[in-house]
Structure formats: C-alpha cells, structure tokens
Symmetry: C2
C-alpha cells in the first residue's frame, strides 16, 4: 500500500471547505452571512476574503456538497442561500474526523514544547 503524500495545498482547500460546510449544519445561509458567522464564532481568527469565499461556494455547489437557491429578499434584492446536501454531510463527517487525527498527530510532535 502506498501512503498518500501530505498535500498541504489540498489540505488547506479541504480546511476551508470543511469550515464552510460546518457552518451550514444549523440551517441555510447566504454567503455574506456565512462569512460573518465564521468570523464571529472563531473570535475573529478565521476570515474569508470575498474573492476566496465565493469561488469556494461555487466549487462546493458544482461538486454537489451544497445546494444554492436564489431568494427574493427585498423588493429587488436577491440573495443566494446555501444548504448542505447529504453528500456534503458525509464529506463533513469524514473530514472533521481527518482533521481531528491531523491535529492529534501534530501535537504528538509539537506538544513537546510545553509542560
């Protein structure tokens, strides 16, 4: 069995995707709202540039991990609300577990600095 290489750019992509999917667990949200919630809930640590966020949302939608639907909000305003698909829930569960393992191994090595 060939062990997969640590593909950091891929991991960071998955990190962002996991974060966005996780925020969508408790109901549908539009992009801007989603970015604000991630920032709030992380104490200001995680922030998405709009130029980063929207392409990721489009990618997730294309991969059918989320489903987007335009909704009339005011007399003219359109907002696109996203919901998790069942594939998205599955992806989320798998990747949260992977990240848990990832962090465990990291502190297994880097934890030596403290105590």
């Amino acid at each position: 069995m060939i062990k997969p290489q640590l593909d950091i750019p891929l991991l960071t992509k998955q990190f962002n995707e996991t974060l966005i999917l996780a925020i969508l667990v408790d109901g549908k949200k539009h992009g801007y709202q989603l970015a604000l919630e991630i920032e709030e809930k992380s104490g200001g640590l995680f922030r998405f540039n709009h130029g980063t966020l929207y392409p990721i949302l489009h990618r997730l939608e294309k991969e059918k991990l989320i489903r987007g639907a335009w909704k009339q909000e005011g007399p003219k305003r359109q907002r696109k609300y996203y919901t998790l698909t069942s594939a998205g829930k599955k992806y989320l569960a798998v990747h949260v577990a992977q990240w848990r393992e990832f962090f465990t191994q990291f502190f297994n090595i880097a934890g030596v600095i403290e105590g």
Copy 2:
C-alpha cells in the same frame, strides 16, 4: 485595530516550519533523518517531498531559526546537521500556541458534527 486576515498559504508555510522546528527540539538532525522522524512519529501522516523539505530548511537557515553545519560522516560523505537557534525556539513556542488556538477555534465550529 485591524484584524489580520486568515492567510492560508502563510499558515501552511508556518505549519511546516513549526513541524520541522519541533522535531529539532531533541537534538540536531540532518534533513533526511528529520523527514523520516516526522513520518514515523506521525504514523505516516506527515510526509515531506524532498523538493519541499530542502527549500524549507534553507529558508529557515536564512531566517536564522536553525543553524546548519556540514559534518564529515564517512570517508567522503557530507551531511548537513541542523540545530535550533534561540530565535527558532522562540518562534516554535509562539507558533505552537497559535496552532493550539487555531485548532480550538476550528473544533469550536466543526465539532458540532459529533456527539
């Protein structure tokens, strides 16, 4: 006060650097040995391509976070051994703490999937 943006490429760079510095805490090592230890200690999860590892070592050396010294090993073989500098130790402490906060916030959001 302007909050810094989440700069993922920068974070992954710092992740790799932190991992390498952490492995050097318990004594000097040469590049190849360092890569093997990271792989072993992480249960095969973290692997560095050589084309990734050596540029990082050169960068860390240039930034004086590690110090490299060539050492005659066999009759002809040269190996470059790296040791942590005091600046490197400081960098390591700061970044391990940052990663701990990072992971805490991540699971604060993504932990909802379990339990």
